[in-house]
């Protein structure tokens, strides 16, 4: 098969030195042997918690970092030895406010990067106009980027990444910090890219986004791919489970450990959502753990309690938790 992205045994170790008189070298194994292939035109998701190795993997694939070991090819070109060929074929978009020239207008940002990315002069005007239309910035292109909202910046990032019509585009958390309406527009843009044949490698923290967009998903944790499959296949990882969700206020730090020891409980996690904490307990489908869980949370102020079928996010939590236990 003709792959757009191929990685074999990709590893990356960061070494840092601290101290002058007694220098100490520390090593962090950010990526510990990633194998993956992404077909042409596929929309592939790379999911994982912060520090899992997602961005490091992308930086090795897009030539910004040399792997400590292993090999990777983009459209058949080696990312270490054939960087120029690779760079001609890739676009890179990352989330956040930075990465654009603040004092320039959106139009000048795009004009400059069109030069850098080798867009022929005769095509630049048309291509920039098309992209401004695609990311809905037409009419705002002559405003300085410093006055743009985060959503507008994100859309401009995407336009910049697509200037040279790359065969492969890396989207590193493009919807981070973007409001729901802008995020929906971004998802539509990404889906449209894949529909027109561009290979997309997307990293995100938002399960719904991955579920909606991706053909296949790899869950990465501790620098290794822990699970790989279609969203439906990954959801099956949580088959045979029930999920209990409890809104609570003031859950003590050791409560999760207690909950995980309860019979029938597979995973327990707590998430801060503004003022409220949401305790999520995954259990065997045939075990009724609600009474035991509430008993263990005795003294904690409890809000709404719901029981539901597991989602992709629950499968993700289960995979990450299992990986963390193995690493520990």
């Amino acid at each position: 098969m003709d792959y757009a992205i191929e990685a074999e045994g990709l590893r990356r170790t960061y070494r840092s030195r601290t101290g002058w008189l007694r220098p100490r070298t520390t090593e962090v194994h950010a990526v510990r042997g990633v194998d993956l292939t992404v077909g042409r035109g596929e929309l592939f998701g790379l999911l994982g918690p912060n520090g899992a190795g997602k961005t490091t993997t992308i930086k090795m694939l897009n030539t910004l970092l040399i792997p400590s070991a292993g090999t990777a090819r983009i459209c058949g070109f080696d990312v270490v030895k054939q960087t120029r060929e690779v760079r001609r074929r890739i676009g890179y978009v990352f989330g956040g406010d930075r990465g654009l020239y603040e004092r320039l207008t959106a139009l000048d940002n795009l004009r400059y990067f069109a030069e850098l990315y080798g867009v022929p002069a005769r095509d630049q005007k048309r291509r920039i106009a098309e992209l401004l239309e695609l990311v809905k910035l037409t009419g705002r292109e002559n405003e300085r980027v410093e006055g743009y909202s985060r959503g507008m910046r994100q859309r401009l990032h995407i336009a910049r990444g697509l200037l040279h019509e790359p065969e492969v585009i890396f989207l590193d958390e493009p919807s981070i910090g973007v409001d729901p309406v802008a995020a929906r527009d971004l998802r539509a843009t990404v889906a449209n890219l894949a529909a027109t044949g561009t290979t997309v490698l997307l990293t995100t923290h938002y399960m719904a986004e991955a579920d909606e967009l991706c053909d296949r998903i790899a869950v990465i944790s501790e620098g290794e791919i822990q699970a790989l499959g279609t969203p439906a296949e990954l959801r099956h990882r949580a088959d045979g489970r029930r999920v209990l969700e409890i809104e609570a206020y003031g859950v003590p730090t050791d409560a999760l450990e207690d909950l995980q020891k309860l019979p029938g409980v597979r995973e327990a996690a707590v998430e801060e959502r503004g003022q409220v904490q949401v305790v999520t307990v995954q259990s065997d489908a045939d075990a009724d753990v609600q009474a035991d869980v509430l008993r263990r949370l005795n003294g904690v102020r409890i809000g709404r309690v719901t029981s539901r079928e597991p989602t992709l996010e629950d499968a993700y939590v289960a995979i990450i938790a299992a990986a963390s236990r193995v690493a520990a």
Partner: protein, 258 residues
């Protein structure tokens, strides 16, 4: 050629911090002009050198403010804006991308030096013969290009070291002392003369003084060619450093720009 021309001008507007009128006038015109006047009066009091020595010398030195800081900003500010990674992902030649950026700073430096020389001469009553103006302009232009490449060399260090502005500040302060603009070059200790001889401005200032004093092209050629050679050497050094530090950044992940 478009990357060299249009690209470099856009990069200049994007990365040069001193393009707003108030900062441009304050930092690039008023500051160097007061420095020129200060040293001219000190020179008169101490009888170290005449007005031509200080006015022409400081006018040549004024190109350094734009070019040294501008060259540093041309690369260092990429880090600040988080755009360096995107620039390094370009498949195009690094020499074209980065060395091309010297042109707008050199033009800016030339403009500043011309203004400083004109205003300084008018304020302090220095007569410069009209016949000397083309050669003076040539000296300023060569110095501006050499300084811009010197600035890019310092900027290239920004790919490896985070606090590059310290180096630019120290360097420009040293240029006030070591280029023979304010302290006669032959009165410096030998080791400072050795450093000064390798800096841009030193030889252009000497050539410009000779030109203002009526020397012809033949008379100023040795100094002017030396200044041009220094500029070429810094251009080569900047290109080599950019290549080394970019390769190192891929190996050691030394760019935390993304």
């Amino acid at each position: 050629m478009r990357l060299l021309g249009l690209g470099s001008v856009i990069a200049y507007r994007a990365l040069f911090n001193w393009t707003t009128p108030i900062v441009f006038v304050g930092s690039l015109l008023i500051g160097p002009l007061f420095q020129l006047i200060f040293f001219a009066y000190v020179g008169r009091e101490l009888a170290v050198g005449d007005d031509r020595f200080y006015i022409v010398g400081n006018a040549v030195l004024s190109v350094a403010w734009t070019c040294v800081f501008g060259g540093t900003m041309a690369i260092g500010n990429e880090r600040r804006f988080g755009t360096l990674g995107h620039v390094l992902l370009s498949p195009r030649s690094r020499t074209l991308i980065f060395l091309g950026r010297a042109t707008p700073y050199a033009a800016n430096g030339l403009l500043v030096a011309a203004v400083i020389l004109t205003v300084g001469a008018l304020l302090l009553g220095l007569h410069i013969p009209a016949s000397a103006i083309p050669l003076l302009a040539l000296c300023l232009a060569v110095s501006a290009v050499a300084c811009a490449f010197f600035g890019l060399t310092l900027g290239a260090l920004g790919l490896r070291f985070r606090d590059i502005w310290v180096i630019s500040n120290v360097t420009t302060a040293l240029m006030v002392l070591l280029t023979g603009v304010n302290v006669p070059f032959d009165q410096l200790p030998w080791f400072l003369r050795a450093i000064g001889a390798a800096l841009p401005v030193t030889h252009a200032a000497a050539a410009a003084r000779d030109a203002a004093g009526g020397a012809g092209l033949t008379g100023i050629a040795p100094n002017l060619l030396t200044e041009a050679g220094i500029g070429v050497a810094y251009a080569v050094l900047a290109a080599v450093l950019l290549r080394i530090f970019e390769a190192e950044s891929r190996r050691r992940a030394s760019l935390d720009t993304l």
